[in-house]
Symmetry: C2
Subunit: 184 residues, 2 copies
């Protein structure tokens, strides 16, 4: 089986492939613009994008949206994580947490799929906490400052294989894969 | 003449009315959901929303999007100003500017209109700087920390009439009014 992944982010394609190959599902990156609305929850953003894929008759195509939700910052940067990464950067996000005791956070990913003209959304979450400083060279975005629960290393210090066992994105794509194998 | 303003923000309706009454244009607030995409510039967000109004045949209807662009923060919070206000709040935005010399910023508003099935966008900008602490009880959002260029008071310390002479939103609605009177 093959799915098309509408994204310009090569990291996301590699992580999705790393999960989906275990289910014999191939992933092909396609560079088409997805609809990306403003909403506080990535699940709503992915659902709207999946509905739009169906409106455009783009069957077996997926989109993915994800965000880092920091508890002490009321969920910020959440759905706007990519924008905040580009403007504030990790250094300033850490500055916002100076003197804050509770550094808990979670990453949430939502994969939107159009299948036989019907939109579906699959969600993955990983709990953890924000590191005191960036560590590691792997991954992308907030990976250097996110320590998943039960680990002492950041996402950026884990290999892509290790990250793909526990990450929010991996969990969302696992849910997608299991649904696809059961329904196609 | 009468236009319909698709917004849930009563402050924005009051400010628009304050400008448009000078052109004998009435404003009626309507509570319909507008399309609000993610983009770095409020002008693009308003344009997409205006195109969507036309697709829904909502003639003589306007939407407005605006944001506070802080130079030292690479434009942050920009198009996501409302979300950042709700999550970080003014106190944490000020924290990001601790020790920063250049506090310059601008407010930008973009009004999207559907007129005779064609989308139009009108932009207004006001330059200024970020106050050291919140001041004033008027306005809403970032008004207590924005000092327009040439003034010593914040937007929240000005009356609605004074703010409506110089604000980004006032300028965008003035441009709308002048265009409407010339083309209808």
């Amino acid at each position: 089986m093959r799915i098309y992944f509408a994204t310009s982010n090569r990291h996301k394609v590699l992580e999705a492939s790393s999960v989906l190959k275990r289910y014999s599902i191939e992933v092909e990156q396609i560079m088409v613009k997805k609809l990306e609305v403003q909403a506080d929850d990535v699940e709503e953003i992915a659902r709207t994008a999946a509905e739009d894929l169906c409106a455009r008759r783009m069957d077996m195509t997926v989109v993915e949206d994800d965000g880092l939700y920091i508890k002490a910052l009321e969920g910020f940067p959440g759905p706007y994580s990519e924008y905040v990464y580009r403007t504030l950067g990790l250094r300033r996000v850490l500055k916002l947490l100076e003197g804050v005791g509770d550094r808990s956070a979670f990453f949430k990913a939502a994969v939107g799929l159009c299948n036989n003209g019907v939109p579906h959304v699959f969600v993955g979450v990983v709990d953890g906490e924000i590191a005191l400083e960036p560590r590691g060279l792997g991954g992308f975005g907030y990976d250097p400052i996110f320590i998943p629960k039960g680990y002492s290393l950041t996402f950026a210090e884990l290999s892509i294989e290790e990250k793909s066992k526990i990450s929010h994105r991996a969990r969302a794509f696992q849910a997608l894969a299991e649904w696809l194998l059961a329904h196609n």
